[in-house]
Amino acid sequence: MSLSPDLLTRIRQAAHDHGGPRAAMLEALRMIQHDHGWVCDAHLAEAAATLGVHRAEMEALAGFYSLIFRHPVGRTVILLCDGASCWLNGADAVRDELQRRLGIGFGQTTADGEYTLINVACLGGCDRAPAAVVGRDRRLIGPLSPEGVAKLLEGGL
């Protein structure tokens, strides 16, 4: 499936707004990810062609950014903090419970395509440690506890 005409227009517009095609590469990657959840090879190549940059440059940039996904991710991406303040407040136990319930480790996606779990630090939620950031709108939740993990996965948090 190729990129929608609307998205291609927005990518061209980004080149205009961001000071040229090169400077717009990250924004293009973000827009693809916003519409498709992740950035596949075909979409990356199409965006590169639209901007008139080499796809290898786009590839290199995508590889640099930890939050540009080059593999399919689950419908809900959970960014769980593994930073110091969260650790001091029991983040390891939250991590263990979350990984046990989902049956996946960091960087993995559940078989049903529902969740992807990623470790990030720090989420800027140290006052709500242990903290996580969930979903497309990057909602901050916390303080989490192992008991709260079930509620989180049932959508109650």
């Binding site: 930073g83 650790w87 407040n89 630090a121 006052d127 989180l152």
Partner: protein, 431 residues
């Protein structure tokens, strides 16, 4: 409001104000005032206010702005650029999140004033991806201000980023905005000489910029007098780690850790203070003997420490300092941009050794290795940028302060009962 200029107007629900609400609270009067002044006069005020940058290094904002050339005085075409740094990712830091989400119009006012003072026709607010609520709030504020004709010709936009701590380092940030992998550049030339696309550029932190309107509203003397020390203004301090009610606290510059920890409900865990980091993950540990040291850039530099972001991480007597340093090192190792060898190779090695200490598998010579890494790579060491020096701050000071702890770990693993770390949230979390 005047003793809490930065946060006093925030809504209790932390939601951003509409433009109308903000104007009803006196919003944009500061911008009007600044525009009635010559740019150099605005800089005079910011200098007299003694506003030091809040992004970590504490460089005086006025002096930084003074380096920016007037329009038409530099060779070549193109504008001066103002960059607002909202990449906040330092462990322990959560202040800019609040200022972006809850007070976007305050930030925009500050950016308009800073752009006026530094002859900038373009401004970019870089915000990390995890702060999407902040991105949305600032974008909306910009739209509202544009529609109301308040931008005065300034082209300003948000640049949402996509992870990687190094993006927050100012020269790496400039490289990122140009569309390259965010690798730091050599200074000099400083951004004011050659920054974004080779043009004069000022980079300031979100908190620094958010304070600027208050210099204009209060005047430099009253702004300065908000502080208890030489360094002007209030500070948005934060306290997290082993305290009962972690949070943000706006207080006069020079407030002490004792007062801040008290406002955070006191120490949790065993109730005793073992140590604290005054300025986020990349700052040196201080012991209880520094509970009454005024927390600002000057006092902490004289104490051989650093103020950094002013976000305290507190360690109680029952939590393991070696484990804490290991968590920090793992973070910095992961976030190394990989450009220079000491950092790329040294940080993962240090992290690995620290985890071996925790697991009880470290050998005596590992301690020497840690000491050597800290000595070779500390501040002003051999790395290309300050990421590695920052990473060494907790390690170097921790090796000194917690020597007995390191020795105890050598003798057979972590001596601390870690059940408190797996027993859920110790400060009454319900979730």
């Amino acid at each position: 409001m005047t003793d809490l200029p930065l946060t006093g107007r925030a809504r209790p629900d932390r939601k951003p104000h509409t433009l109308a609400e903000w104007r009803a609270l006196g919003g944009y009067a500061a911008v009007e005032r600044a525009r009635a002044m010559a740019p150099s006069e605005v800089i005079d005020w910011v200098e007299a206010a003694n506003l030091n940058g809040r992004g970590g290094a504490g460089f005086p904002a006025g002096r930084k702005w003074r380096f920016m050339p007037e329009r038409g005085t530099t060779p070549g075409n193109g504008p001066n650029y103002l960059i607002v740094n909202g990449d906040e990712m330092e462990p322990g830091a959560f202040k800019d999140r609040f200022l972006l989400e809850a007070l976007p119009h305050q930030l925009l006012e500050g950016a308009l004033i800073a752009a006026h003072a530094t002859h900038c026709d373009e401004a970019i607010v870089l915000i990390r991806d995890e702060y999407r609520p902040g991105i949305a709030a600032v974008e909306r504020a910009i739209d509202e201000a544009r529609n109301a004709g308040l931008l005065g010709g300034l082209h300003i936009r948000v640049h949402p980023s996509a992870g990687r701590y190094i993006v927050g380092e100012e020269t790496a940030l400039i490289t990122a905005l140009e569309g390259h992998r965010a690798v730091p550049r050599k200074r000099p030339p400083f951004p004011a000489q050659s920054g974004l696309w080779g043009r004069p550029t000022t980079v300031n932190n979100v908190e620094t910029i958010s304070l600027v309107p208050h210099v204009l509203t209060l005047g430099p003397q009253r702004f300065r007098a908000l502080s208890r020390t030489e360094e002007g203004g209030t500070k948005l301090y934060g306290v997290s780690g082993r305290v009962k009610r972690p949070g943000l606290f706006e207080a006069p510059m020079g407030t002490t850790a004792r007062e801040l920890i008290e406002r955070a409900g006191g120490i949790s865990g065993d109730g005793t203070l073992r140590a604290f980091q005054p300025g986020g993950g990349a700052s040196r540990f201080l012991g209880p003997d520094h509970l009454d040291t005024p927390l600002d850039f000057g006092h902490l530099a004289r104490a051989g420490a650093m103020f950094g972001t002013g976000m305290l991480i507190v360690l109680d007597g029952s939590a393991c300092p070696v484990g804490l340093i290991a968590r920090h090192m793992r973070f910095y190792a992961r976030e190394s941009c990989g450009w220079c060898t000491p950092c790329r190779e040294g940080l993962p090695l240090a992290a690995k050794i620290l985890h071996a200490f925790e697991a009880g598998t470290a050998r005596p010579e590992d301690l020497d290795l840690l000491h050597m890494t800290a000595a070779e790579a500390g501040p002003r060491g051999r790395s290309f940028c300050d990421l590695m020096g920052g990473a060494m701050a907790p390690l170097a000071s921790g090796l000194e302060m917690f020597a007995a702890e390191f020795a105890a770990h050598l003798a057979g693993g972590c001596p601390h009962d870690k059940t408190h770390l797996s027993g859920g949230c110790p400060h009454g979390g319900t979730a």
